[in-house]
Symmetry: C2
Subunit: 214 residues, 2 copies
Amino acid sequence: MTDLPFSGAFKAGKGGSRPMFKAAAGIFARKGYHEATVDEIAQAVGVAKGTIYYHFKNKEDLYFAVIQEGINIFGKQLRVAAAAADNPLDKIRSLVDSHLDFYEREQDLVFLFLKELSGSELRRRILAGMLSKCLAVVREAIAAGVKNGTFRAVNPELATSSLFGMITIAAFHYLAFARPIDRAKVKSTIEQIFTRGILSGEGEGDCCRVAGHL
Amino acid sequence: MTDLPFSGAFKAGKGGSRPMFKAAAGIFARKGYHEATVDEIAQAVGVAKGTIYYHFKNKEDLYFAVIQEGINIFGKQLRVAAAAADNPLDKIRSLVDSHLDFYEREQDLVFLFLKELSGSELRRRILAGMLSKCLAVVREAIAAGVKNGTFRAVNPELATSSLFGMITIAAFHYLAFARPIDRAKVKSTIEQIFTRGILSGEGEGDCCRVAGHL
DNA sequence: AGTTATAAACTGACTGGTCAGTACAAGCAC
DNA sequence: GTGCTTGTACTGACCAGTCAGTTTATAACT
């Protein structure tokens, strides 16, 4: 909300910062960058077009501010979730919960992120970098778990991506068809598959021959 | 390639069907629907703009034809992979392999799919439905495994989404930064986490308390 | 309290460029 | 001689971005 490298960054606006951000995020998420017109966003926000340009250099600037703000929200939420638990396993559980929470509350942002990830190479890389920073807490929790023996010797980087993917797509499964997310079911699936898979089980290696390579 | 509900659907073109499709997919994937101009696509394909409009009703029609064709390729590949193994576990392994294969060979399509999944509600729903049909073979393999006791009692629907998400995002992890996918690493991570998680292990339930619900 | 000064926030009609889609005369191949 | 292709040129809609001017908020002076 503060220290953003953008012209206006939601400080101003008749109705205050948050509604402006919400409205813009909603339009961008629903229609995409190019289909969303600045006129339309201005109307949704409840200001004149010129006002948008008073606060933001141009449409892209506004768009990035929305993304940046979204990343901030996501990152902060994950950090809080990680801090709320004190061992790797609970951290992961808390993070999964928090992620699902974000998914439910900020669907617009989720779609915005997905859009950005499928954008041009540059945009994709930028967002992937930002997300990667947000997910550092997950990576660290997994790495810690591997170190202290709670988890098996997975690659924390890839395990993080995997978990992120599982949550995102499993939850997406509901949103794609405009159904409410069944959090209990998703959580239980993740517990059953991810958590169980990553925990250093008793009967260790036998079921897991990886065809050929390590 | 055949039975498509589209005007022209890549039957024609100087260089035959495939190059035309490839070029169009590439442009759409790199620039997105709105930034890609028909002139540009025509040039890339190597035909005159009028020719595009001779075969396709309009830009959207062309775009959908590309998507549809992509889905056909993906679906066929998965079906072949599933048929190549005769028990649930091997089917899953074969499907993972095949999926990664598709990911590597048809990056344009992957990005196109991602774009579409983050598009408007209608478009999202349409593509999600198509993908869901493609992934039926995965769902069935998982369901069969659950039935015959190879796998634990997961929800096949959600487990499929989870696996799809894992693969997609883990591989994306590389593509986002324009690095080649390290297939061995991705496969081993999936083996370690998904396969191991879903296999009905000896020490069954103890590690997997799901906070509260079933 | 009333007047004046100044800046910040806001407005909306207008402009200029872009691009989907059309039109068409002419060429080629089977 | 019909189906397919080309190239060029044109139109009309749409939209990002501009700008001259209005409103509101704040402070300062008498």
